[in-house]
Amino acid sequence: MVESLIAVAAALTGIAFLFALLRFIKGPSTFDRVIAFDVLTVISITFIVLSALIEERGIYLDVALVYALLSFLGVIAIARYLEGRF
């Protein structure tokens, strides 16, 4: 029961990942790709939590913690570059 619910959640999140990846490949301007990058990072955090649930290893959550900190720094750096404030 719970395993099948986790599988359904992983499949739905995979479809969302595919949509964001298509926007990253297509995206007309740079900002569209930055938004798609941000969404892909958040979806990757979700995948890490789901894989920690599937494998039942709590050490995987540390990687999600590093992601939640570092993606923010990357997006801030990109935005400052695009504003022209470096």
Binding site: L5, L12, F19, I35, E83
Partner: protein, 132 residues
């Protein structure tokens, strides 16, 4: 036999995944950059926090790390989307024509055409005055 805690966690996981799917669909379907920022920021924040809550229901011993990840996401995700929207506004990104609503323009044009139908000469004079 699963307990009620496991069922609740699984349902929260699927609900968060549905929100993430809606966010991805909005990111693909929206016509405009700012609409994409809106669709990409809010729904992914809510979906990820629902999935973290579902994981905390399934494994209560991971609660502290999951709470920490949720707090970081809750701080950083709106902040990064706001910084991006400010940078896009400063670079003068054009908006889609679908996003600007001007209902009075349609009403004025209909009024002008009906006046033209009633009295063609006066209407045309008034239009000429307005144009000049």
């Amino acid at each position: 036999m699963e307990s009620l805690l496991d069922i609740t966690g699984g349902v929260l996981l699927v609900a968060g995944a549905v929100f993430l799917l809606l966010g991805g669909l909005g990111l693909w379907r929206m016509p405009d950059l700012f609409n994409r920022i809106q669709a990409g920021a809010k729904t992914t924040t809510l979906g990820t926090i629902l999935i973290l809550a579902g994981a905390a229901f399934l494994h209560p011993e991971w609660g502290f790390k999951l709470l920490l990840i949720g707090i970081f996401l809750l701080f950083t995700n709106p902040l990064s989307s706001q910084v991006l929207a400010r940078a896009a506004h400063r670079r003068n990104i054009e908006t889609s024509p679908q996003t600007s609503v001007d209902m009075l323009a349609d009403a004025f044009s209909q009024k002008a055409t009906s006046e033209n139908d009633l009295s063609e000469k006066a209407g045309s004079d008034k239009d000429a005055e307005e144009k000049s």
